[in-house]
Amino acid sequence: MLLTTLSKTISQTGGTLLANQFEQQVDCYAAQHGWNALTGLTDLAELTQRVPDVDAKMLLAVYVSYSRHARLLARQILGERVLTSALTKLLNSLSPELAQLNARYEIIRLT
């Protein structure tokens, strides 16, 4: 959800080529940190189809690290104000359950 939002915002403000490069670099980051090997996921989007057979804490750590790197990269591309605006819209669109979960684990953060 986070990566989709960031990629869509980059595509709308900088073009599809830039959005593709963003996705590739986030995937590179995951590969560099051995997550693909650790979780058996080719990319984070695969999480919507299956949950890997790993410890929940480890999966959360992977996801948080992934999302922080994605945020950092998106900040360089979009700038703080556009990024904050996109994330605010995303947070406002979360269901109450997901909002509660996010408040607890701080996966999507404004700052």
Binding site: Q12, R81, V82, S85
Partner: protein, 267 residues
Amino acid sequence: MMKRTWLIPASVTGLIVIYAALYAWQPGGIRVLKILSDALLVTFGLLSTVLALKASQMFEPGVASRRVWLLFAVGMAVLTAAQLIWTFYPVFLGQAEPYPSLADVVWAIGYIPVFASLLLQNRALGVATSLRLKLTILAAFSIALIITFVILGSRALSQSGQATTIEILVTVYYLIGDLGMAFIATLSLLVLWDSLVGRPWQYIVISILLVAAADLIFSYGLLNDLYAFGSNLFSGVVDTIYLSAYVVAVAGAYQQVTLSLPPFDVE
């Protein structure tokens, strides 16, 4: 590998310095310089049109940014057509450009798509700018506009009969148009200044500010009989600023077309 971010500013600066040197040196005389200047303005106008069209294709259909660059391309095409008409008088008819002329009508039309492009870009960002900041920028541009009107207006009134109503109206239209565009462009730049996607817009804003400055100085020069192409430093400054605006617009569109992330840094 480090991305060569200095290449575009260095190229822009180099071109402007070469033009300024040619303007001062004037190989072949004023007529050759005039043809060269007009040819360069048309060339850079066309180049920015083509690059802006290419930039629009970098966005998916339906995305606002696609329309933003498309409108910018249309605006640049119309402004280039105006420049061509402006060139027609001295090159083909061998007479000085009348002011105002058909070129001014086309220029006035060209402002509309460029302004619409900047407005759409600002809205497409979806970032609310605080009212206080908007008012502060508006106040700054309004003060600039008032000062300009006072300087130009007092001069026009003291020479009553020399400046016709239509000349004054055209000048007022240009100044309001220039500063209106500069206002919207500055608002967008405040949102995008620290980002990669903002880099093309940094050039576009500078280009618009340069046009505003050139129009302002040109109007002052006309009212004070200071402007005469290729004849003095004042005219050189005006013409160099005009050319710089076109070159910087090309740089902005080129930056958008070549926008890319630096390669992933493997630790």
